[in-house]
């Protein structure tokens, strides 16, 4: 086979290099003489290394692949078993098509038109969507609990640091149920609205989990619109 001197940087990748070798040696892509191709491929890689250049890992990976294919093709094969070289053939054909398609595209490329930047119109920000007024009520409800739970702690709440009262989950189970018996449902956040202490809030949360697990209450909706409902008794 003819000796070739290429620079690897000139190739788009291992497939490109292989295709070049195939073309130069007029190799039948459907019946690749894998041993010879491997030999030539390795020569190129070695040349690169001699030149002290970094060989991209993809090139080494392909070398390993070729070695594998070569080994596999030496082994006896079942009749229905595929020629291990076929996978390589497939890869090369695909890449060949890719290159051909790229050439076709290149003939179309024009870059000969210029477009205009969008005109800077004074923006009209006025809101125009139509809403149901009840959304406001819902939003107010959602907003209300928030401040309570997110505002900076009141001075009293620091006393808890000293007295560290532990709030029991049981007491908060009673609290949740009692609230729901009265009301049937309540906004999730509102449940926590008056619970300034962390331990109380945790207890309410745990109580809620327990009640959900025991199918006493149901939590519906998501985010700020989340509602807690008593099960088995719809709100009158």
């Amino acid at each position: 086979m003819e000796k070739l001197q290429y620079k690897l940087e000139n190739f788009e990748g291992p497939l490109d290099l292989l295709l070049t070798l195939v073309a130069k040696n007029k190799i039948d892509i459907y019946d690749i003489p894998i041993a010879e191709l491997l030999e030539q491929y390795m020569e190129q890689i070695d040349l690169m290394r001699e030149a002290d250049l970094d060989v991209a890992s993809e090139f080494l990976e392909m070398a390993a692949r070729l070695v594998y294919i070569k080994t596999a093709s030496l082994l006896p094969r079942q009749e229905d078993e595929e020629d291990p070289r076929m996978e390589l053939t497939g890869l090369l054909l695909e890449y060949q098509q890719c290159k051909a398609a790229a050439e076709k595209l290149r003939t179309l490329a024009a870059f000969n038109t210029v477009t205009r930047p969008p005109e800077e119109l004074p923006a009209d920000f006025i809101y125009k969507r139509i809403h149901d007024p009840r959304e406001l009520r819902q939003a107010l409800r959602a907003a209300w609990g928030k401040g309570k739970s997110l505002m900076p702690p009141k001075p009293e709440s620091f006393s808890a640091l000293v007295s560290a009262r532990i709030v029991s989950v049981a007491s908060q189970t009673v609290y949740v149920l009692r609230t729901l018996w009265k009301r049937g449902s309540i906004a999730y956040r509102a449940l926590f609205a008056e619970k300034d202490e962390r331990s109380a809030r945790i207890a309410v949360f745990l109580a809620l989990l327990e009640l959900v697990k025991n199918r006493r209450v149901r939590v519906e909706g998501e985010g700020d619109l989340c509602e807690v409902k008593l099960m088995g008794r719809e709100k009158a």
Partner: protein, 207 residues
């Protein structure tokens, strides 16, 4: 094609020169000095002036979507001002995204308590609301309503006519009764409405 750019106006038809001027004016979003066009086309400024006049005659009709303006010694294409509204509608709709939950909450707090300061809204929601309030003002849903006579003279905010339109309210009195929760604010006006069984007392929590 290449040579022409360095400018010999000769040998090129007047129509083609006008087309080049048109292309240059179109591609630039900004006003282009006639001098500059003359230089590129390799013709006198007076010739460019003529072209621009001819282009104006072609473009500046009431039905045309595009007009050509003279601004001093420059020319600029712009949208026919008569069609600014459909243009806005086509390009601006992105700005009309639905209100976020945060915006809705701020709006609700203001609507039910107006006029209120931003600090009040922030206290209720427990988070900074400057950005949201600003954008609601920009959207024409909130407006400034003077200042509170307190240290710092904070601005007061209220809802607008546009707010009433968006929420299909004839007047601000027609707001749905506020939910009773949270215990303290309900005195304002809401819970007097009968049908609301979530009155404030029902939410009273035992701590």
């Amino acid at each position: 094609m290449r040579g022409e750019a360095d400018g010999e106006g000769e040998g090129v038809s007047t129509e083609e020169l006008a087309g080049r001027a048109e292309a240059i004016l179109f591609a630039s979003g900004e006003p282009v000095a006639l001098d500059r066009i003359a230089q590129v086309l390799g013709v006198r400024t007076a010739a460019v002036e003529k072209m621009v006049l001819a282009l104006q005659e072609k473009y500046n009709t009431p039905q045309s979507g595009v007009h050509l303006l003279m601004l001093g010694d420059s020319a600029q294409f712009c949208t026919n001002p008569a069609f600014i509204e459909p243009v806005r509608a086509a390009l601006d709709l992105k700005r009309n995204t639905p209100l976020s939950q945060a915006a809705m909450e701020v709006l609700a707090v203001v609507a039910y308590n107006q006029p209120v300061t931003k600090a009040f809204v922030e206290q209720v929601r427990g988070v900074d609301c400057s950005g949201v309030v600003g954008s609601l003002v920009q959207k024409g849903l909130l407006e400034e309503r003077g200042r509170l006579e307190l240290p710092g003279r904070p601005l007061l905010y209220g809802t607008t006519e546009n707010f009433l339109r968006c929420f299909q309210l004839e007047s601000i009195d027609r707001l749905p009764p506020p939910p009773g929760e949270g215990g303290q604010q309900e005195q304002e006006e809401g819970s007097d409405d009968d049908g609301e069984d979530d009155g404030p007392e029902q939410i009273t929590l035992d701590v």
